[in-house]
Symmetry: C2
Subunit: 489 residues, 2 copies
Amino acid sequence: MKNLDKLFYPGSIAVIGASEANAKWGSLIITNIIDGGFKGPIYPVSSTHDTVYGLKAYKSILAIPGPVDLVFVATPANTVMDILRECTTKEIQDVVVISSGFSETGSMGVLLEKQIIEFAANHSMNIVGPNTMGMSNLHWNLHGTGAYLRPNPGGISIIAQSGNIGSQIMIWAEMEKIGISKFVGSGNEAVLKVEDYLEYFNSDENTSVILMYLEGVDDGRKFLDIAKNTCFNKPVIALKAGRTEGGGRAAQSHTGAMAGSFQIFESGMKQAGITVAMNPTELLELAAVFDCFPLPRGNRIGIITLGGGWGVITTDECEERGLCLPPLPDNIKKIFDAKLPPFWSRANPVDLVGHFDYTLFHEAIEAMISSDEYDALIVLGLLGVVKFGIQFSNAAYRMGFLSEEQFRLYEGMSREVDTKILDMVLTMMNKYDKPIYPVSFASYPEDETVYIKSGSKYKVIVYKAPELAVLCLSKQYQYSKYLQTHRPR
Amino acid sequence: MKNLDKLFYPGSIAVIGASEANAKWGSLIITNIIDGGFKGPIYPVSSTHDTVYGLKAYKSILAIPGPVDLVFVATPANTVMDILRECTTKEIQDVVVISSGFSETGSMGVLLEKQIIEFAANHSMNIVGPNTMGMSNLHWNLHGTGAYLRPNPGGISIIAQSGNIGSQIMIWAEMEKIGISKFVGSGNEAVLKVEDYLEYFNSDENTSVILMYLEGVDDGRKFLDIAKNTCFNKPVIALKAGRTEGGGRAAQSHTGAMAGSFQIFESGMKQAGITVAMNPTELLELAAVFDCFPLPRGNRIGIITLGGGWGVITTDECEERGLCLPPLPDNIKKIFDAKLPPFWSRANPVDLVGHFDYTLFHEAIEAMISSDEYDALIVLGLLGVVKFGIQFSNAAYRMGFLSEEQFRLYEGMSREVDTKILDMVLTMMNKYDKPIYPVSFASYPEDETVYIKSGSKYKVIVYKAPELAVLCLSKQYQYSKYLQTHRPR
């Protein structure tokens, strides 16, 4: 395994080609690193400037007084080899080559890239790229990317064979409050390849889930071996692009990836235990669910719903995805008989027929999740419904028939109900070690989609729509089953 | 066809069971109607109050002095028949029965509902429900629902056989700025059935697209005949729940719908020209695309992308959904040869290799959309990328290396670029009558997802991810093909 500690947890950083705010890569990288609050020394290297953002700039790496752990290179392709030589002189092994102009541009670039490959092999260098948009470690305040990406620190580490797809996923994570550990755009993979990052993230304590966007893998066998080993330890979610003939051609034109047969590679991924996503949004959502919820031990699902329609939709989605809905055991029927009107469904999904009552929710969820009949629970519409109440009281307040004090009191109490439900869901998951997937009645942009409470082993994702909750649950079940049947004991 | 003009465009409204802010249905409905700004007289009817929100309340409908076009009933089931009799005395034909306690609750309720059905038939009444969450007309400031739903007025009319699914779709529409025309929760469909609303919306000038959530249809033949006729005139998008055995059982328990064979009904829907959605989010997104973009005449797609990875993903999605990507004609290659570095893809997808240049975007989009080789265009990552520039300058400003004035100037200019791109996309769509689907690099919650400009025939939806854009495009193509082959000339 390649030791990438200094790459992802450097004590000090140099940026070659650093400058101030002019939209060039050398400027973007150093602006991002400083703004991101990196804790160690940052050394700009510039042939034209004496300072960059008030930091003393050096004419070369060799002129830097202290030790340097990690170097970002953002100068033209033909300068890179000299810089690598200087790095070895200064005993630097970890370099991120942002610069483009290598194998992606034609035969001259291919030659330049070969030089890098040989040099790195002879000097045991860890090189990211070239032609990468950079890397970041959110647990280390390290933001070494050409795009401005600020998700919360969390458990998901990302390997992207496309800078723009990777960036977009990071932005979605930021918007949805999904926590990210590390990010690397693997670029041309001249030296460090997707499997090297995978192997390193497997051993990384701050990584709980690994997310990959792939176009092509040079050594399929090696990659799948490492993936298999990793999947026994933590979930790996991958989107492999180039599934179709046209997609394969586009991938070759983009990263030079020889797509090979997608079907063969896909079945290899599945045999290795990788969770396969079909598109970028799925990729992130699947990574998030593994980071937040416990694994279901089986595929027996209980559904509690505030309204009938959701129950129907969710049942369809469950059955189509290989999940099953066992009927309600008698003891649970009895509980609801005492609480619901006589015409209640008496079946799974349990339809609460619009009864909004926190005590009922609590009792319903605990009855179902504690039952040996169910491995997981989906709860539909309990969250978010208080919003309507708030808006109606707000209307009454605007009309002058409720005082501001009364309205604020009501608003506060209502919001508390949603938090109480989230806390209860978290408590139940921790207590019974089974996942509970809530789908919100009304999700507003300002809502937290990931609910985190300190001291809790798990987190809660609040889904906007039932189909996404079911997809995530079904993939968690498949991984759980894979581990049960494949993991060496 | 049933004339539902007074139902959807009433001049005056009475609410039976009206009261002030106490979370009961009669209170929710009148609060919503007043707060929604309904323009005509509103008459509360209450046995216990003299005024409701300052409006004079009447003891019965018969005591109301002026004419009443539409009545909402929110009193217990056993009061409904008397109220209907009073309605006929006052020559009121249009009634929304919010009240539950009918066929959904057992044999007594079935009897009560039968009485309503007979009475309505004898007196030519249009009755929504019973057991409905209400209806609304956003072009008429009419918000007669028990949930607080405020999307913008627009072209999509919604028929929902589930109040909670319908409400959720309305909330999503509000959040995504998707315009809605009318909404009706059809409830138990004692009198007015899904096909009656469908037929009416077909003739409604303010409806451009019809969206339906279905669990079961009593008269499948009649429904499909009306649907077929409607689809020749405007797009109909439907989600039929109860696809699976379990889903069918849940539907029966919910609305009493006999699901029948989903496969047979689905093929009937497709033969009628209905666009079939697989889940609630798809349902809304598909309705929106038909409301905003022109129909593509064929399935030949051009892709322009700022980065390679998106091009690969999008190609996969296109080919899997029956769309094709014709190669670039020579004249278009020449245009890009002059603009892009020598190693550019020279293929469709056109990879702009990160060149952010408005003039290039303009030229690229016009070259592709004006070409006879392409029926539609997908443009990836051009929108939203300016956000990074803003955040980097903001960082430089926070560090004290850019004045506030400089930063604000830069921010304003950058934001203008996105608006300029949207305007250009709109201009091109109007000029060439072909759809252009933009996918944003970075979408933030505050972003408008639907871009509307007065005077433009079309609107622009900005997609968050390529897979959704391709899904929507492919369904538009299927409908376009259906019209070309089935519509009588």
